[in-house]
Amino acid sequence: MKDQHIKLPQGSIEKTTTTLNLGPTHPATHGVMQNILELDGERVVSTEQTIGYIHRAFEKLAERRPLYQITTLTDRLNYCSSPINNMGWHLTCEKLLGVQTPKRVDYLRVIIMELARISDHLICNSIVGVDAGAYTGFLYVMQYRELIYEIYEEVCGARLTTNMGRIGGFERNFSNTAFEKIEKFLKEYPEVLKEFEDLFIRNRIFMDRTQGTGGISAERALNYGFTGPNLRAAGVDYDLRVHQPYSSYEDFQFNIPVGNTGDNYDRWLVRQREMWESLSIIEQAYRKVQDFKGKDAEVYHADAPAYYLPEKADVYTKMEALIYHFKIVMGETEIPKGEVYQAVEGGNGELGFYLISDGGRTPYRLHFRRPCFVYYQAYEELIKGSMLSDAIMTMSSLNLIAGELDA
Protein backbone atom coordinates (compact mmCIF):
# COMPACT_ATOMS: atom_id res chain seq x y z
CA MET A 1 0.00 0.00 0.00
CA LYS A 2 1.93 3.01 -1.18
CA ASP A 3 1.40 6.37 0.46
CA GLN A 4 0.13 8.94 -2.03
CA HIS A 5 2.28 12.04 -2.07
CA ILE A 6 0.31 15.21 -2.72
CA LYS A 7 2.04 17.90 -4.73
CA LEU A 8 2.10 21.05 -2.63
CA PRO A 9 1.89 24.44 -4.28
CA GLN A 10 5.06 26.40 -4.99
CA GLY A 11 6.53 28.15 -1.95
CA SER A 12 4.74 26.21 0.74
CA ILE A 13 6.71 24.59 3.49
CA GLU A 14 6.63 20.84 3.33
CA LYS A 15 6.64 19.40 6.76
CA THR A 16 7.45 15.76 6.77
CA THR A 17 5.95 14.61 10.05
CA THR A 18 3.05 15.68 12.25
CA THR A 19 3.39 15.82 15.99
CA LEU A 20 0.40 14.44 17.83
CA ASN A 21 0.05 14.64 21.56
CA LEU A 22 -1.80 11.62 22.90
CA GLY A 23 -1.97 13.47 26.13
CA PRO A 24 -2.36 12.46 29.70
CA THR A 25 -6.11 12.87 29.49
CA HIS A 26 -7.31 10.79 26.61
CA PRO A 27 -9.94 8.11 26.45
CA ALA A 28 -7.49 5.74 24.86
CA THR A 29 -4.81 6.05 27.50
CA HIS A 30 -6.22 4.06 30.35
CA GLY A 31 -4.65 5.88 33.14
CA VAL A 32 -2.49 8.93 32.82
CA MET A 33 0.45 8.61 30.54
CA GLN A 34 1.48 10.80 27.66
CA ASN A 35 2.74 9.77 24.26
CA ILE A 36 3.98 12.37 21.83
CA LEU A 37 3.80 10.69 18.46
CA GLU A 38 5.56 11.75 15.30
CA LEU A 39 3.30 10.72 12.46
CA ASP A 40 3.94 10.52 8.77
CA GLY A 41 0.36 10.66 7.58
CA GLU A 42 -1.11 7.82 9.61
CA ARG A 43 2.09 5.92 10.22
CA VAL A 44 3.98 6.30 13.43
CA VAL A 45 7.59 7.31 12.93
CA SER A 46 8.65 7.68 16.53
CA THR A 47 7.18 8.28 19.93
CA GLU A 48 8.25 9.73 23.23
CA GLN A 49 6.57 8.68 26.42
CA THR A 50 6.14 10.80 29.52
CA ILE A 51 4.97 9.19 32.71
CA GLY A 52 4.90 10.36 36.30
CA TYR A 53 1.51 12.04 36.15
CA ILE A 54 0.39 10.00 39.10
CA HIS A 55 3.66 9.63 40.96
CA ARG A 56 2.65 9.21 44.57
CA ALA A 57 6.04 8.49 46.12
CA PHE A 58 5.18 5.03 47.43
CA GLU A 59 8.78 4.13 48.08
CA LYS A 60 9.41 7.17 50.25
CA LEU A 61 6.06 6.73 51.95
CA ALA A 62 6.95 3.14 52.80
CA GLU A 63 9.95 4.31 54.79
CA ARG A 64 7.57 6.02 57.18
CA ARG A 65 5.16 3.17 57.88
CA PRO A 66 5.47 -0.07 59.84
CA LEU A 67 5.14 -3.24 57.82
CA TYR A 68 1.44 -3.87 58.19
CA GLN A 69 0.54 -0.31 57.20
CA ILE A 70 2.33 -0.71 53.88
CA THR A 71 -0.36 -3.15 52.71
CA THR A 72 -2.64 -0.20 52.02
CA LEU A 73 0.01 1.25 49.73
CA THR A 74 0.40 -1.97 47.79
CA ASP A 75 -3.37 -1.96 47.08
CA ARG A 76 -2.92 1.09 44.97
CA LEU A 77 -0.23 -0.29 42.71
CA ASN A 78 -2.20 -2.43 40.29
CA TYR A 79 -5.62 -1.41 41.49
CA CYS A 80 -7.47 -3.78 39.20
CA SER A 81 -6.12 -6.76 41.13
CA SER A 82 -5.21 -5.38 44.53
CA PRO A 83 -5.39 -8.67 46.47
CA ILE A 84 -2.42 -10.02 44.50
CA ASN A 85 -0.33 -7.03 45.55
CA ASN A 86 -1.43 -7.42 49.16
CA MET A 87 -0.62 -11.12 49.23
CA GLY A 88 2.73 -10.49 47.54
CA TRP A 89 3.64 -7.97 50.23
CA HIS A 90 2.60 -10.33 52.99
CA LEU A 91 4.69 -13.07 51.44
CA THR A 92 7.68 -10.71 51.43
CA CYS A 93 7.18 -9.89 55.10
CA GLU A 94 6.75 -13.54 55.95
CA LYS A 95 9.98 -14.35 54.16
CA LEU A 96 11.81 -11.65 56.09
CA LEU A 97 10.28 -12.59 59.43
CA GLY A 98 10.43 -16.34 58.91
CA VAL A 99 6.71 -16.99 59.33
CA GLN A 100 5.38 -20.21 57.87
CA THR A 101 1.73 -20.16 56.84
CA PRO A 102 -0.43 -23.28 57.15
CA LYS A 103 -1.81 -24.97 54.04
CA ARG A 104 -5.36 -23.80 54.49
CA VAL A 105 -4.21 -20.19 54.53
CA ASP A 106 -2.21 -20.80 51.36
CA TYR A 107 -5.20 -22.28 49.58
CA LEU A 108 -7.47 -19.45 50.61
CA ARG A 109 -4.83 -17.01 49.37
CA VAL A 110 -4.72 -18.85 46.05
CA ILE A 111 -8.49 -18.53 45.64
CA ILE A 112 -8.34 -14.80 46.26
CA MET A 113 -5.30 -14.24 44.04
CA GLU A 114 -6.83 -16.10 41.14
CA LEU A 115 -10.09 -14.19 41.50
CA ALA A 116 -8.05 -11.01 41.36
CA ARG A 117 -6.26 -12.23 38.27
CA ILE A 118 -9.59 -12.95 36.57
CA SER A 119 -10.79 -9.49 37.54
CA ASP A 120 -7.66 -7.86 36.06
CA HIS A 121 -7.75 -9.82 32.81
CA LEU A 122 -11.48 -9.13 32.42
CA ILE A 123 -10.85 -5.42 32.50
CA CYS A 124 -7.96 -5.66 30.08
CA ASN A 125 -9.71 -7.84 27.54
CA SER A 126 -12.96 -5.94 27.61
CA ILE A 127 -11.16 -2.60 27.27
CA VAL A 128 -9.29 -3.96 24.25
CA GLY A 129 -12.75 -4.61 22.85
CA VAL A 130 -13.92 -1.11 23.74
CA ASP A 131 -10.93 0.41 21.98
CA ALA A 132 -11.72 -1.62 18.90
CA GLY A 133 -15.26 -0.31 19.07
CA ALA A 134 -17.05 -3.21 20.76
CA TYR A 135 -18.60 -1.78 23.91
CA THR A 136 -21.06 -4.60 24.63
CA GLY A 137 -18.56 -7.11 25.93
CA PHE A 138 -17.37 -4.62 28.52
CA LEU A 139 -20.86 -4.14 29.93
CA TYR A 140 -21.54 -7.87 30.06
CA VAL A 141 -18.37 -8.55 31.90
CA MET A 142 -18.52 -5.68 34.42
CA GLN A 143 -21.49 -7.36 35.99
CA TYR A 144 -19.37 -10.40 36.81
CA ARG A 145 -16.68 -8.25 38.27
CA GLU A 146 -19.38 -7.07 40.66
CA LEU A 147 -19.70 -10.66 41.86
CA ILE A 148 -15.96 -10.82 42.46
CA TYR A 149 -16.20 -7.55 44.38
CA GLU A 150 -18.93 -9.07 46.52
CA ILE A 151 -16.64 -11.94 47.41
CA TYR A 152 -13.92 -9.48 48.43
CA GLU A 153 -16.47 -7.61 50.52
CA GLU A 154 -17.40 -10.77 52.38
CA VAL A 155 -13.77 -11.50 53.15
CA CYS A 156 -12.32 -8.12 54.00
CA GLY A 157 -15.01 -5.48 53.72
CA ALA A 158 -13.77 -3.48 50.76
CA ARG A 159 -14.41 -3.74 47.04
CA LEU A 160 -11.43 -2.35 45.26
CA THR A 161 -8.57 -1.34 47.50
CA THR A 162 -8.88 -4.40 49.62
CA ASN A 163 -6.05 -4.31 52.21
CA MET A 164 -6.80 -8.00 52.46
CA GLY A 165 -5.15 -10.36 54.85
CA ARG A 166 -2.48 -9.91 57.48
CA ILE A 167 1.12 -11.01 57.84
CA GLY A 168 0.56 -14.68 58.51
CA GLY A 169 -2.90 -15.17 57.09
CA PHE A 170 -6.26 -13.50 57.09
CA GLU A 171 -7.97 -11.26 59.57
CA ARG A 172 -10.99 -13.51 59.88
CA ASN A 173 -12.07 -16.87 58.63
CA PHE A 174 -14.02 -16.98 55.39
CA SER A 175 -17.70 -16.99 56.31
CA ASN A 176 -20.24 -19.37 54.83
CA THR A 177 -21.60 -16.55 52.72
CA ALA A 178 -18.17 -16.09 51.19
CA PHE A 179 -18.04 -19.76 50.25
CA GLU A 180 -21.57 -19.60 48.84
CA LYS A 181 -20.60 -16.65 46.71
CA ILE A 182 -17.49 -18.44 45.48
CA GLU A 183 -19.64 -21.43 44.55
CA LYS A 184 -22.08 -19.21 42.76
CA PHE A 185 -19.22 -17.61 40.86
CA LEU A 186 -17.82 -20.99 39.86
CA LYS A 187 -21.24 -22.08 38.66
CA GLU A 188 -22.29 -19.03 36.70
CA TYR A 189 -19.05 -17.60 35.42
CA PRO A 190 -17.92 -20.19 32.82
CA GLU A 191 -20.85 -19.57 30.52
CA VAL A 192 -20.40 -15.82 30.79
CA LEU A 193 -16.75 -16.14 29.88
CA LYS A 194 -17.68 -18.37 26.96
CA GLU A 195 -20.20 -15.84 25.72
CA PHE A 196 -17.67 -13.02 26.02
CA GLU A 197 -15.05 -15.09 24.25
CA ASP A 198 -17.38 -16.00 21.39
CA LEU A 199 -18.02 -12.33 20.72
CA PHE A 200 -14.37 -11.70 19.90
CA ILE A 201 -12.33 -14.77 19.29
CA ARG A 202 -13.24 -15.50 15.66
CA ASN A 203 -14.72 -12.11 14.93
CA ARG A 204 -13.32 -11.01 11.58
CA ILE A 205 -13.22 -7.34 12.52
CA PHE A 206 -11.48 -7.94 15.81
CA MET A 207 -8.97 -10.27 14.25
CA ASP A 208 -8.17 -7.77 11.52
CA ARG A 209 -7.68 -5.03 14.09
CA THR A 210 -5.43 -7.00 16.37
CA GLN A 211 -3.50 -9.56 14.36
CA GLY A 212 -0.10 -8.54 13.13
CA THR A 213 0.12 -5.34 15.14
CA GLY A 214 2.27 -4.59 18.13
CA GLY A 215 4.30 -7.76 17.84
CA ILE A 216 7.58 -8.40 19.57
CA SER A 217 9.99 -11.29 19.38
CA ALA A 218 10.90 -13.35 22.40
CA GLU A 219 14.54 -12.18 22.48
CA ARG A 220 13.62 -8.51 22.41
CA ALA A 221 10.93 -9.08 24.99
CA LEU A 222 13.39 -10.73 27.35
CA ASN A 223 15.90 -7.96 26.82
CA TYR A 224 13.23 -5.43 27.68
CA GLY A 225 12.39 -7.23 30.89
CA PHE A 226 8.89 -8.26 29.87
CA THR A 227 7.13 -10.66 32.19
CA GLY A 228 3.62 -11.94 32.54
CA PRO A 229 1.04 -12.34 29.78
CA ASN A 230 2.94 -10.03 27.43
CA LEU A 231 6.01 -12.25 27.60
CA ARG A 232 3.98 -15.42 27.33
CA ALA A 233 2.31 -14.06 24.21
CA ALA A 234 5.77 -13.60 22.72
CA GLY A 235 6.50 -17.29 23.20
CA VAL A 236 8.38 -17.64 26.49
CA ASP A 237 6.63 -19.80 29.05
CA TYR A 238 7.84 -18.07 32.18
CA ASP A 239 5.30 -17.97 34.98
CA LEU A 240 6.35 -17.34 38.56
CA ARG A 241 3.59 -19.55 39.87
CA VAL A 242 5.31 -22.52 38.27
CA HIS A 243 8.97 -21.56 38.36
CA GLN A 244 9.18 -20.13 41.87
CA PRO A 245 6.01 -21.36 43.52
CA TYR A 246 4.78 -19.38 46.46
CA SER A 247 1.74 -19.94 48.63
CA SER A 248 1.52 -23.66 47.74
CA TYR A 249 0.99 -23.15 44.01
CA GLU A 250 2.94 -26.35 43.46
CA ASP A 251 -0.08 -28.31 44.70
CA PHE A 252 -2.19 -27.21 41.76
CA GLN A 253 -2.45 -28.47 38.21
CA PHE A 254 -2.69 -25.82 35.53
CA ASN A 255 -1.30 -24.97 32.12
CA ILE A 256 0.56 -21.89 30.98
CA PRO A 257 -0.88 -20.53 27.74
CA VAL A 258 1.84 -19.34 25.36
CA GLY A 259 1.51 -17.37 22.13
CA ASN A 260 3.66 -17.15 19.01
CA THR A 261 4.17 -13.71 17.70
CA GLY A 262 3.47 -11.50 20.67
CA ASP A 263 1.02 -9.34 18.76
CA ASN A 264 -2.18 -7.88 20.18
CA TYR A 265 -4.30 -10.87 19.22
CA ASP A 266 -1.91 -13.24 20.97
CA ARG A 267 -1.97 -11.12 24.10
CA TRP A 268 -5.75 -11.13 24.09
CA LEU A 269 -5.82 -14.89 23.62
CA VAL A 270 -3.23 -15.54 26.33
CA ARG A 271 -5.20 -13.46 28.83
CA GLN A 272 -8.41 -15.20 27.84
CA ARG A 273 -6.93 -18.65 28.30
CA GLU A 274 -5.35 -17.59 31.57
CA MET A 275 -8.80 -16.76 32.85
CA TRP A 276 -9.92 -20.30 32.10
CA GLU A 277 -6.85 -21.66 33.87
CA SER A 278 -7.50 -19.40 36.84
CA LEU A 279 -11.04 -20.71 37.01
CA SER A 280 -9.75 -24.26 37.15
CA ILE A 281 -7.27 -23.31 39.88
CA ILE A 282 -10.05 -21.74 41.94
CA GLU A 283 -12.10 -24.92 41.61
CA GLN A 284 -9.18 -27.06 42.75
CA ALA A 285 -8.39 -24.73 45.64
CA TYR A 286 -12.03 -24.59 46.69
CA ARG A 287 -12.23 -28.37 46.83
CA LYS A 288 -8.99 -28.53 48.78
CA VAL A 289 -10.29 -25.99 51.29
CA GLN A 290 -13.51 -27.93 51.70
CA ASP A 291 -11.45 -31.00 52.53
CA PHE A 292 -10.30 -29.44 55.79
CA LYS A 293 -12.78 -30.51 58.43
CA GLY A 294 -13.41 -29.79 62.07
CA LYS A 295 -10.59 -28.05 63.87
CA ASP A 296 -8.53 -27.66 60.70
CA ALA A 297 -11.31 -25.67 59.09
CA GLU A 298 -10.89 -23.00 61.76
CA VAL A 299 -7.29 -22.24 60.79
CA TYR A 300 -7.00 -18.92 59.04
CA HIS A 301 -3.64 -17.60 60.18
CA ALA A 302 -0.17 -18.72 61.06
CA ASP A 303 0.93 -19.32 64.60
CA ALA A 304 3.14 -16.28 64.88
CA PRO A 305 2.11 -14.35 67.97
CA ALA A 306 4.89 -11.83 67.52
CA TYR A 307 3.50 -10.63 64.20
CA TYR A 308 -0.18 -11.59 64.10
CA LEU A 309 -2.59 -9.91 66.50
CA PRO A 310 -3.65 -12.36 69.22
CA GLU A 311 -7.27 -13.11 70.04
CA LYS A 312 -8.98 -10.37 72.00
CA ALA A 313 -9.99 -12.75 74.78
CA ASP A 314 -6.33 -13.64 75.29
CA VAL A 315 -5.33 -9.99 75.25
CA TYR A 316 -7.58 -9.35 78.19
CA THR A 317 -6.43 -12.33 80.21
CA LYS A 318 -2.87 -13.33 79.31
CA MET A 319 0.23 -11.23 79.82
CA GLU A 320 2.18 -12.32 76.74
CA ALA A 321 -0.80 -11.71 74.46
CA LEU A 322 -1.19 -8.23 75.92
CA ILE A 323 2.45 -7.42 75.31
CA TYR A 324 2.36 -8.77 71.76
CA HIS A 325 -0.82 -6.84 71.03
CA PHE A 326 0.74 -3.63 72.28
CA LYS A 327 3.95 -4.12 70.34
CA ILE A 328 2.21 -5.01 67.10
CA VAL A 329 -0.23 -2.13 67.23
CA MET A 330 2.45 0.39 68.13
CA GLY A 331 4.67 -1.02 65.40
CA GLU A 332 7.50 -1.92 67.76
CA THR A 333 7.84 -5.60 66.85
CA GLU A 334 11.31 -7.05 66.40
CA ILE A 335 12.05 -7.02 62.71
CA PRO A 336 15.28 -8.82 61.80
CA LYS A 337 17.91 -7.02 59.81
CA GLY A 338 18.30 -8.19 56.25
CA GLU A 339 17.34 -7.78 52.66
CA VAL A 340 14.82 -9.89 50.84
CA TYR A 341 13.42 -9.96 47.32
CA GLN A 342 10.13 -11.70 46.79
CA ALA A 343 8.20 -11.76 43.56
CA VAL A 344 4.67 -12.84 42.78
CA GLU A 345 2.92 -13.29 39.49
CA GLY A 346 0.76 -10.22 39.29
CA GLY A 347 -1.84 -9.53 36.65
CA ASN A 348 0.83 -7.97 34.47
CA GLY A 349 3.87 -10.01 35.33
CA GLU A 350 6.55 -10.28 37.96
CA LEU A 351 5.66 -7.93 40.76
CA GLY A 352 8.71 -7.82 42.97
CA PHE A 353 9.28 -6.37 46.41
CA TYR A 354 12.85 -5.57 47.43
CA LEU A 355 12.82 -4.91 51.14
CA ILE A 356 15.85 -3.84 53.14
CA SER A 357 15.31 -3.77 56.85
CA ASP A 358 17.74 -2.36 59.37
CA GLY A 359 15.90 -3.66 62.41
CA GLY A 360 13.84 -0.52 62.91
CA ARG A 361 10.09 -0.37 62.95
CA THR A 362 9.86 0.77 59.32
CA PRO A 363 11.72 -0.54 56.28
CA TYR A 364 15.03 1.12 55.50
CA ARG A 365 14.30 0.86 51.80
CA LEU A 366 11.42 -0.68 49.93
CA HIS A 367 11.48 -0.90 46.18
CA PHE A 368 8.62 -2.19 44.06
CA ARG A 369 9.62 -3.92 40.86
CA ARG A 370 6.61 -2.94 38.82
CA PRO A 371 6.02 -4.92 35.62
CA CYS A 372 4.15 -2.15 33.77
CA PHE A 373 7.01 0.29 34.27
CA VAL A 374 9.46 -2.16 32.79
CA TYR A 375 7.58 -3.14 29.69
CA TYR A 376 6.17 0.26 28.77
CA GLN A 377 9.69 1.19 27.64
CA ALA A 378 9.21 -1.15 24.69
CA TYR A 379 6.17 0.74 23.41
CA GLU A 380 8.17 2.69 20.86
CA GLU A 381 9.60 -0.45 19.38
CA LEU A 382 6.19 -2.10 19.32
CA ILE A 383 4.45 0.59 17.33
CA LYS A 384 7.20 1.89 15.06
CA GLY A 385 5.88 1.87 11.53
CA SER A 386 2.33 0.91 12.37
CA MET A 387 -0.79 2.98 11.94
CA LEU A 388 -2.17 5.28 14.60
CA SER A 389 -5.16 3.07 15.32
CA ASP A 390 -2.86 0.11 15.85
CA ALA A 391 -0.86 2.19 18.29
CA ILE A 392 -4.03 2.70 20.31
CA MET A 393 -4.82 -1.01 20.26
CA THR A 394 -1.29 -1.88 21.32
CA MET A 395 -1.43 0.50 24.24
CA SER A 396 -4.62 -1.01 25.56
CA SER A 397 -3.61 -4.61 24.96
CA LEU A 398 -0.42 -4.11 26.97
CA ASN A 399 -2.62 -3.52 30.02
CA LEU A 400 -0.90 -0.42 31.33
CA ILE A 401 -2.18 0.47 34.76
CA ALA A 402 -1.03 3.96 35.65
CA GLY A 403 -0.81 3.25 39.37
CA GLU A 404 1.72 0.55 38.71
CA LEU A 405 3.58 2.63 36.17
CA ASP A 406 4.37 5.47 38.49
CA ALA A 407 4.06 4.26 42.04
Binding site: G23, P24, T25, H26, P27, G31, V32, G52, Y53, I54, H55, R56, A57, K60, L61, T72, L73, D75, R76, Y79, C80, I123, L139, Y140, M142, Q143, R145, E146, L147, Y149, R159, L160, T161, E188, E191, V192, E195, A402, G403, D406
Partner: protein, 194 residues
Protein backbone atom coordinates in the same frame (compact mmCIF):
# COMPACT_ATOMS: atom_id res chain seq x y z
CA UNK B 1 -27.84 -13.94 31.63
CA UNK B 2 -28.20 -11.29 34.30
CA UNK B 3 -28.02 -12.78 37.73
CA UNK B 4 -31.24 -12.63 39.72
CA UNK B 5 -31.49 -9.83 42.23
CA UNK B 6 -31.64 -11.60 45.54
CA UNK B 7 -32.61 -8.86 47.96
CA UNK B 8 -35.62 -7.30 46.26
CA UNK B 9 -38.24 -9.54 47.83
CA UNK B 10 -41.26 -7.26 48.00
CA UNK B 11 -43.13 -6.77 44.77
CA UNK B 12 -43.84 -3.11 44.15
CA UNK B 13 -46.76 -2.00 42.00
CA UNK B 14 -45.67 -0.35 38.79
CA UNK B 15 -46.99 3.09 39.66
CA UNK B 16 -44.70 3.47 42.63
CA UNK B 17 -41.79 2.25 40.53
CA UNK B 18 -41.96 5.20 38.21
CA UNK B 19 -40.55 8.43 39.45
CA UNK B 20 -41.49 11.75 38.01
CA UNK B 21 -39.56 14.93 38.36
CA UNK B 22 -40.98 17.40 40.85
CA UNK B 23 -42.73 20.42 39.40
CA UNK B 24 -41.21 23.68 40.56
CA UNK B 25 -43.46 26.43 41.94
CA UNK B 26 -45.69 27.38 39.07
CA UNK B 27 -48.78 29.38 38.27
CA UNK B 28 -50.95 27.18 36.17
CA UNK B 29 -54.18 27.84 34.47
CA UNK B 30 -56.16 27.02 31.42
CA UNK B 31 -53.65 27.01 28.61
CA UNK B 32 -50.75 28.67 30.44
CA UNK B 33 -48.03 27.74 32.80
CA UNK B 34 -45.90 30.46 34.37
CA UNK B 35 -42.78 30.03 36.36
CA UNK B 36 -39.40 31.62 36.56
CA UNK B 37 -36.86 30.86 33.85
CA UNK B 38 -34.27 29.74 36.42
CA UNK B 39 -36.46 26.94 37.61
CA UNK B 40 -37.25 25.54 34.20
CA UNK B 41 -33.67 25.79 33.07
CA UNK B 42 -32.51 24.14 36.29
CA UNK B 43 -34.96 21.31 35.87
CA UNK B 44 -33.89 20.72 32.31
CA UNK B 45 -30.20 20.92 33.06
CA UNK B 46 -30.13 18.72 36.07
CA UNK B 47 -31.41 15.66 34.26
CA UNK B 48 -28.99 15.86 31.37
CA UNK B 49 -25.57 16.52 32.79
CA UNK B 50 -22.76 15.34 30.54
CA UNK B 51 -19.84 14.30 32.70
CA UNK B 52 -16.17 14.29 31.81
CA UNK B 53 -14.57 11.44 33.72
CA UNK B 54 -11.10 12.65 34.58
CA UNK B 55 -10.12 9.29 35.95
CA UNK B 56 -6.54 9.02 37.07
CA UNK B 57 -6.39 6.05 39.39
CA UNK B 58 -8.37 3.62 41.55
CA UNK B 59 -11.47 5.81 41.79
CA UNK B 60 -11.62 5.57 38.02
CA UNK B 61 -12.23 1.84 38.29
CA UNK B 62 -15.08 2.47 40.71
CA UNK B 63 -16.43 4.94 38.20
CA UNK B 64 -16.33 2.21 35.57
CA UNK B 65 -18.39 0.09 37.96
CA UNK B 66 -20.78 3.02 38.41
CA UNK B 67 -21.22 3.33 34.67
CA UNK B 68 -21.80 -0.40 34.38
CA UNK B 69 -25.23 -1.92 34.39
CA UNK B 70 -25.33 -2.76 38.10
CA UNK B 71 -25.12 0.79 39.44
CA UNK B 72 -25.92 2.61 36.21
CA UNK B 73 -25.19 6.30 36.28
CA UNK B 74 -27.09 6.78 33.04
CA UNK B 75 -30.37 6.62 34.94
CA UNK B 76 -29.56 10.14 36.04
CA UNK B 77 -29.23 11.43 32.54
CA UNK B 78 -25.47 11.04 32.38
CA UNK B 79 -25.54 8.44 29.65
CA UNK B 80 -23.15 10.27 27.40
CA UNK B 81 -19.76 10.64 28.97
CA UNK B 82 -17.56 12.87 26.89
CA UNK B 83 -13.83 13.22 26.85
CA UNK B 84 -13.76 16.62 25.31
CA UNK B 85 -14.04 19.40 27.88
CA UNK B 86 -15.64 21.70 25.33
CA UNK B 87 -18.74 19.54 25.31
CA UNK B 88 -19.11 18.60 28.95
CA UNK B 89 -20.77 20.14 31.96
CA UNK B 90 -19.42 18.22 34.90
CA UNK B 91 -15.73 17.59 35.51
CA UNK B 92 -15.46 14.48 37.66
CA UNK B 93 -11.94 14.34 39.01
CA UNK B 94 -11.43 10.81 40.19
CA UNK B 95 -8.10 9.81 41.58
CA UNK B 96 -4.88 11.28 42.82
CA UNK B 97 -3.67 14.44 41.15
CA UNK B 98 0.10 14.69 41.25
CA UNK B 99 1.96 17.96 40.96
CA UNK B 100 2.80 17.03 37.38
CA UNK B 101 -0.88 16.62 36.58
CA UNK B 102 -2.07 19.83 38.27
CA UNK B 103 -1.57 22.09 35.23
CA UNK B 104 -3.40 19.53 33.09
CA UNK B 105 -6.45 19.62 35.37
CA UNK B 106 -6.40 23.41 35.27
CA UNK B 107 -6.18 23.44 31.50
CA UNK B 108 -9.07 21.01 31.13
CA UNK B 109 -11.13 23.14 33.52
CA UNK B 110 -10.34 26.28 31.56
CA UNK B 111 -11.47 24.64 28.35
CA UNK B 112 -14.91 23.89 29.74
CA UNK B 113 -17.70 26.26 28.85
CA UNK B 114 -19.91 27.87 31.48
CA UNK B 115 -21.96 26.60 33.29
CA UNK B 116 -19.54 24.03 34.60
CA UNK B 117 -19.41 22.07 37.82
CA UNK B 118 -16.62 20.10 39.43
CA UNK B 119 -16.95 17.07 41.63
CA UNK B 120 -13.94 15.74 43.52
CA UNK B 121 -14.41 12.00 43.84
CA UNK B 122 -12.35 10.20 46.40
CA UNK B 123 -10.07 11.15 49.21
CA UNK B 124 -7.10 11.93 46.98
CA UNK B 125 -8.98 14.49 44.91
CA UNK B 126 -10.61 16.02 47.98
CA UNK B 127 -7.58 16.42 50.18
CA UNK B 128 -4.64 14.39 48.99
CA UNK B 129 -5.92 11.23 50.64
CA UNK B 130 -3.37 8.90 52.16
CA UNK B 131 -0.62 10.45 50.05
CA UNK B 132 0.72 13.31 52.14
CA UNK B 133 3.86 13.43 49.98
CA UNK B 134 5.99 15.88 48.07
CA UNK B 135 4.53 14.92 44.73
CA UNK B 136 0.78 14.95 45.33
CA UNK B 137 -1.48 18.00 45.23
CA UNK B 138 -3.30 18.00 48.55
CA UNK B 139 -6.75 18.25 47.09
CA UNK B 140 -7.73 19.64 43.71
CA UNK B 141 -9.26 22.69 45.34
CA UNK B 142 -5.73 24.03 45.45
CA UNK B 143 -6.01 24.28 41.67
CA UNK B 144 -9.66 24.64 40.62
CA UNK B 145 -12.89 25.51 42.45
CA UNK B 146 -14.82 22.42 43.51
CA UNK B 147 -18.56 22.08 44.04
CA UNK B 148 -19.04 18.67 45.64
CA UNK B 149 -16.58 16.43 47.47
CA UNK B 150 -17.22 12.70 47.68
CA UNK B 151 -15.17 11.06 50.42
CA UNK B 152 -14.06 7.45 50.27
CA UNK B 153 -11.07 5.47 49.22
CA UNK B 154 -12.48 4.58 46.78
CA UNK B 155 -16.06 5.71 47.37
CA UNK B 156 -18.64 3.05 46.71
CA UNK B 157 -20.60 3.53 43.48
CA UNK B 158 -23.59 4.50 45.59
CA UNK B 159 -21.52 7.30 47.09
CA UNK B 160 -20.47 8.51 43.65
CA UNK B 161 -24.11 8.51 42.61
CA UNK B 162 -24.95 10.45 45.76
CA UNK B 163 -22.32 13.00 44.79
CA UNK B 164 -23.87 13.33 41.34
CA UNK B 165 -27.27 13.78 42.92
CA UNK B 166 -25.91 16.61 45.10
CA UNK B 167 -24.56 18.19 41.91
CA UNK B 168 -28.05 17.82 40.47
CA UNK B 169 -29.41 19.74 43.46
CA UNK B 170 -26.87 22.48 42.87
CA UNK B 171 -27.72 22.60 39.18
CA UNK B 172 -31.43 22.78 39.86
CA UNK B 173 -31.21 25.55 42.43
CA UNK B 174 -28.64 27.67 40.63
CA UNK B 175 -29.66 31.08 39.43
CA UNK B 176 -29.08 31.67 35.72
CA UNK B 177 -27.27 34.87 36.60
CA UNK B 178 -24.75 33.24 38.89
CA UNK B 179 -21.98 32.87 36.34
CA UNK B 180 -21.94 36.59 35.64
CA UNK B 181 -22.07 37.63 39.28
CA UNK B 182 -19.24 39.38 41.09
CA UNK B 183 -19.05 36.68 43.71
CA UNK B 184 -18.35 34.01 41.11
CA UNK B 185 -15.83 36.20 39.41
CA UNK B 186 -14.07 36.78 42.69
CA UNK B 187 -13.97 33.03 43.24
CA UNK B 188 -12.32 32.46 39.88
CA UNK B 189 -9.89 35.34 40.53
CA UNK B 190 -8.77 33.66 43.72
CA UNK B 191 -7.71 30.69 41.63
CA UNK B 192 -6.01 32.84 39.06
CA UNK B 193 -8.59 32.09 36.39
CA UNK B 194 -9.96 34.97 34.34
Amino acid sequence: MSRPVSYNLVQKPLESDLSMAELPEVHMGDGFFATSLSKVVGLARKNSIWPLPFATSCCGIEFMATMGSHYDLSRFGSERVGFSPRQCDLLMVMGTIAKKMGPVVKQVYLQMAEPRWVIAVGACASSGGIFDTYSVVQGIDQVIPVDVYVPGCPPRPEAIIDGVMRIQDLVEKESIRRRDSDQYRALLESYGIQ
